[in-house]
Symmetry: D2
Subunit: 369 residues, 4 copies
């Protein structure tokens, strides 16, 4: 059954395998009149590109995006935007090792069980390369949100045991270090930690946090299409994510009502209520409350490690595998832009959906035609 | 926009407000031929009913379910199953306190922002009473899963700071204590802790864990309809849930690849690979791997507390609120059956979807007609 | 698989069998603030009720609608509107004739093939009684459209060989005759024709036409969600419909470009282009062009006839059937309100969808918040 | 809002404009293991290619399809199949005539009203070139249906006033004449008729019929996802279609029950009931009955004609337009393969959906795993 699409009014459909001809995405439902050029998308793709630091894989992916449709004279037309990124790295390789062996922590076994066989070249569709399409689509959503004054920012909150320090939080720092951390000191420690793990032929997990500012209140649809439920879906669908939190998340399960409830106070200047704290992470009853949306994604360590592992092969034999080649010892830094863009896409879609909730606003909309 | 439906092939659409005429659900896409009677559903509704222990609200809800359609001579017909639960507690009350005041931690403010006004009686649609429909629908999904040998079990894993002890885990204990904990000693401590919190006019959060056994491998659709993404969506859509984890969840973010990867070994008796550990929680690449599915939901403390709180009213004035009446000091015990049933429903839906993944199986299916 | 829902932003999910406990519908995504009371819905249900004329079945259906949710203090709240219509006619009957025999022209055989068995009482879910839910939901959509100045009107265009005369077209006449024809003379002839057919134990088909006035231009989504495609889907989903036309329909297949193209001219008073003819039926490229939408549905004759027919039974034997009881010799007059309401519902849904097509309008919408 | 996708389990998302970089489609949900190569798709694209006869436009479109993903070692993998067809005809042209003028019968005006502006080059997204993506996707569905013994065949039934003669029906003739008619004599007359219309600077409509053989009974979902409703939706979404019929269609509206009902008789050899006639067109109650599915689409005349027409321009002035260049005087012959492939796609999708209707078959499916 189909599962490569996301969104209701603003949708994306991604396609492509790691070592096939390319990867891409079709974005449908993007409103007309939005200025969009390839560079707007390329800058997001560049952020997820490997080879950005010495801790990521050296594969030379140009990852150059081509807009095939939906943009005319520099603006979106309202029709589907098809984006193509050719794979450069298609040269025939020796895949004999992974062709018949199920790598632990990977989807090799489950794909074979589900489909009877799989495109084993570099993980095929289950490769992290699948996220190229999401990032490209999310870049378009970012343009849409920007035009409405909404900003989405993600960063690494922790890498292995190294966590950022709130007191040192510096948004500008995120793009300055290879860890994508808003804390230079923590990034330095994290790099060191990763170096140790690489020497031990091991890999590391971490947590990505994402904040959305400038949100209007009223976005999100009860009961099953709550904003937090949609965000959890989107974020959990990123490979290697094993946990999602909104606001205080699991910490609120240990909290008390007197601590966890956010008080409202009138903001006189804006004539609207604001919350004095934000344990809720900007969402109440599944609907945005006008404060900053805060979410976190917990990533497991990269499953590809060069330490020997026990597993089985397609023939049903117990075997040992040592995964060769270079692999990112950590997914998190490259995943930051993935979390940011799927969040942006999901927010944009829900924002459009929220336009139809009140008859008075609908009447006003059509009377102004 | 519509948001009260869940599922693709097996769907539910819930409706109803806390103090309206009733609540209910329409289940569509349920296969024909499943034995189903009201008692099959009632037993699940009884588990979420208040008044089960002295720590839950005393509202007298009969919560008796009536099957209005879709069942004929004791079996499902394949057509929509409409379930109705009349509200008994509709007597006119004094809602003046909450009518104009935004209760902290509740959806009062966001509903008003979204819709312009709200049914303020007992929280209306944003009340936890909304879950009655989900539980009823999930009960039908449980019947479907049982007929395929799949079992779903949820329980309280922690309440405030009290966590169950793995060594004392006893599944039979879950239904024996009012905390729904599989550990009698922890349940005893938790009851005591709640008692203290009530005395302090405070409330408590906790964590619900849910396990699914008997799952075939191959269920879940890459890329956006991964089994874990769907489960995260379903669980996060339950009111008061602020975090969702699969398998080791956020702990895996602090783990290493050598620890976190699950090795495969051949199970000779069944001629298939099994994992020697289950850090992944039964899902690899978004597809079930045949081992037990494990997920957790973190619930915030009940927002309704009788301690004084600062907030604003509809007129834009800063006010103080003390929420009267009796309220559950903890959501978790009553939420256990909610997590269990939405998990069951989501699994059942994805299971049906997985039937169309291979042409050889499709050919076999139709050739046997 | 589920098939009882319709709509994207404004949705309905119908349920219920002919001789079960009742029929109903859940409407989700209806904007808040719309005035709605049971009488608004009841008047549409009364139009489809049998027993209105001597040519329709005498079954005494009260068909009284109860609003169970989604309306508070006389206005829609934005949450699901659940409507219940209890079946009065549930007394145990002798269904032995149709229990095991496949009535020609009915869905008895196909339901049995699909589901293994069926609720045979009065056709169960495949009965025309299913349309009660659609009509009730459509009545809500009519309220929504009215608030935006859009009117939907359906009527019988032909019954058997009797067609209305354009020169005698009188909208007020529609509700005055039992044929729902906007032409008193044609209605008189049609009644006479039906009388003859009843004497011959035969039944009659006909054509329903529906027009939508007050439509803004720009409604409908290329490519697969064109307004005409959605309308065709909705109308063809009504039992007994075998053909759907937009504008000139099949006549345009015999026309020429010079005849069939509608010229545009500026309407100076409104400063906008209008078409001098309307062969297109108000839709160009799947998008409303601001002129009247015109569609037609062709209904087959009622399959239930009391003439002897050849068929087979569940045991695989050739048998003869004479369908007893009273049956409408024609579906069309009661189907008029069904076509009208499904058209209204579909238009309303597409209207809401059209709000998100342009970024300038979206920016204006949110800046006015 | 998004509208470029079709299907539930088997989906396609088309993209591309007439004179943009290319057109294409992403097919998702195609089962794994189906043999598929570019030539399987190319042969369908070649059938819709212009320049096949002297009555179609001379534009040189190579229309060569490239499979970008979803096929590995000659078989579908179960993941999205992305198909790309580059436009060759992108050279800069003089579009000044149609840039600001609304061509009668085209979507120029409605696109401008909806989106604020449009890609005016050759009709952009509203061009018939959009169907390339559908045909390519439908070709994949044809492969799926063939593997299950189901055949879909479309042909021109009438062109202007020229209709095929049942007695001369010859399926092999369809591919032999440029009219795609299964009747050589009718095709000869139709060609002559078109020649006359071209001389008169006029254009012609027609009717395409499509038949599906080898269908199992039980496909189609009541109530809104009836097989005929889905087919009507799919076919009406093809540009220039103004009417859709199933079986006897509008003729049944003039028929009587005794004529229109199809009798069942046991087919002893197959131990199943068959119908002695097929007025219903293979669908009863929205569910396939095992006999041949028959549908028809009525196409309006090509709106592009070189006769002078009255219209308005973007500046709101009344103007005259004479559409230059060569245009097909008839859409029908090239549309035959479009009707055939969207029918195939829709049938394939509904076929997959029908697999989950009975618990006994589901149990069998999973027990055989």
């Amino acid at each position: 059954m189909a599962g490569s699409s996301w969104g209701t009014l603003l949708t994306m459909t991604t396609w492509g395998e790691s070592h096939g001809k390319g990867v891409g995405v079709v974005i449908d439902g993007c409103p007309s009149g939005l200025e969009l050029k390839e560079a707007d998308i390329q800058k997001f793709l560049d952020r997820r590109k490997p080879g950005q630091s010495r801790y990521s894989t050296k594969r030379q992916e140009g990852d150059e995006v081509e807009i095939l449709s939906g943009v005319f004279e520099g603006r979106t037309t309202g029709t589907p935007i098809s984006l193509l990124i050719r794979n450069l790295d298609q040269r025939s390789k020796d895949y004999s090792q992974i062709k018949d062996i199920y790598r632990p922590g990977h989807a090799d076994y489950t794909f074979d069980e589900k489909y009877g066989f799989r495109d084993y070249r570099g993980g095929g569709r289950s490769s992290g390369r699948e996220t190229v399409g999401r990032v490209a689509a999310g870049a378009v959503a970012v343009r849409l949100l920007e035009s409405l004054g909404i900003q989405v920012t993600a960063y690494a909150k922790s890498i292995g045991p190294i966590e950022i320090e709130e007191s040192r939080f510096d948004r500008k720092e995120i793009s300055r270090n290879s860890m994508c951390m808003p804390d230079a000191a923590a990034a330095f420690q994290a790099e060191d930690y990763i170096r140790q793990m690489m020497e031990q032929k091991d890999s590391v997990g971490g947590v990505v946090e994402c904040v959305v500012t400038g949100m209007p209140a009223g976005v999100g649809e009860p009961v099953f299409e709550k904003l937090d439920a949609r965000l959890a879906h989107a974020v959990m669908s990123i490979g290697a994510v094993k946990g999602v939190e909104i606001g205080d998340g699991f910490a609120s399960a240990k909290s008390r009502g007197t601590e966890n409830n956010d008080a409202f106070r009138m903001k006189v200047s804006e004539k609207k209520p604001v919350k004095t704290t934000n344990h809720a992470g900007g969402i109440l009853g599944g609907i945005s409350d006008g404060s900053t949306i805060v979410l976190r994604a917990g990533f497991k360590p990269t499953p590809s490690i060069s330490s020997p592992q026990q597993t089985v092969n397609r023939q049903g034999e117990n075997v040992k595998i040592i995964i060769g080649g270079r692999h990112d010892p950590i997914i998190v830094p490259r995943a930051v832009v993935v979390v940011e863009t799927v969040t942006a896409f999901t927010i944009a879609d829900m924002l459009l959906q929220s336009m139809t909730s009140r008859i008075d606003k609908i009447q006003k909309f059509f009377s102004e035609e």
